[in-house]
Point group: C2
Chain length 214, copies 2
């Protein structure tokens, strides 16, 4: 820290390393951007707050995806019954090594449920595509992205079938996360330089909102 | 009005009739829902305000589409640079008798431009599909909806091509507008019954927001 006074660490490791790494940054007084998911999140937030450290902590670093999440969340708050009577399907495709359902899909489902009313849509109904044939054919994933992609399609259909809304966010590779992380690190460095001290732990919505000043 | 005291007129006519019809409703003191577009809009709003009449006036009665419009508008306000560096394509298909570009597409383009930054996207770049072959094949419009549909696809792609976002709203026939108009009429009747007098002219965002209380 003495050698590199403006340093901001970017952390993309494994869930098991989340808390130990954060403890290290806290002990060293080193601001950080953490895109790693998992670990004990409550402990993570507590440790960083106690240390009074600057950090951007977000499970999703793709800032356009975060913008869509936040946009749908606001829609659901403002227009809770907008899609009453509609039915929804959600299908997501990721590399075959990903065993669990997309966390981003689950987040968006929460917002859609806010607008669907009634019983809403269950996370168990999210269709997972993990086979090469479905990925290349039905989902349209490029061959070179089979080992690293995140494709999501949400489709809402009116009760009489006459109206369909569709939302897609399709990511190949990891450059969107790298770009978002760099944005977050620059944002954090600016906050530290500005020295405004009452808020020190941020998320990607904060980073996005700062675009207002860009 | 004496015979039907709770009456609310729903007006879907032609642009040329907008102002004369509104004058009639004002003279009769009859609350109305107007989905008709065109005419002298400033005069329309003035006439209704002067008459102190209750009305819902909206160029788009499909409330889910209005929700999407409002949602994207809010996203653009909150996250003005979220899609910086992205490129956009917009394609819309309507019945072959529609000569002008979709007004709804132009509205949404405004919001997307708020997030794209830079030069943004020109309305002239909205691709119009009016031929049967393109409608059935590429757009996937059902044959029975060729004479009445409104299909819209907005696609945003990152500079390096690795990320794509797509938004679609596809309407066959007119039931979405009929439903929205009935919702608007019910909303207006409730407002009149409640007697809250400081706001009397509403739009579909007001109707949607009232869903918060449903």
């Amino acid at each position: 820290m003495e050698k590199y006074p403006g340093m901001v660490v970017i952390d993309f490791t494994l869930p098991a390393a989340v808390n130990e790494n954060a403890e290290l940054y806290c002990a060293a007084g080193c601001p950080f951007v953490m895109g790693t998911t998992g670990g004990d999140r409550a402990k993570l937030m507590d440790d960083v707050a106690s240390a009074g450290l600057y950090a951007v902590i977000a499970p999703q670093m793709g800032k356009q995806i975060v913008a869509l999440q936040a946009g749908l969340e606001t829609m659901a708050e403002s227009f809770p019954a907008a899609f009453g009577g509609y039915t929804m399907t959600v299908v997501e495709s990721h590399q075959s090594t990903k065993v669990d359902t997309s966390g981003t899909a689950k987040e968006l489902v929460k917002s859609f449920n806010g607008m669907l009313g009634g019983e809403g849509f269950s996370n168990d109904d999210i269709e997972m595509v993990r086979d090469e044939e479905g990925q290349l054919g039905r989902m349209g994933v490029p061959k070179e992205a089979l080992s690293g992609h995140a494709y999501h399609t949400y489709e809402l259909t009116s009760a009489d079938g006459s109206v369909t809304f569709q939302f897609q966010h399709n990511v190949c590779g990891r450059s969107i996360y790298a770009e978002g992380s760099v944005d977050a690190a620059v944002f954090l460095a600016e906050r530290i330089a500005a020295g405004a001290g009452d808020k020190k732990v941020f998320n990607m919505v904060d980073v996005l909102k700062s675009g207002a000043m860009a």
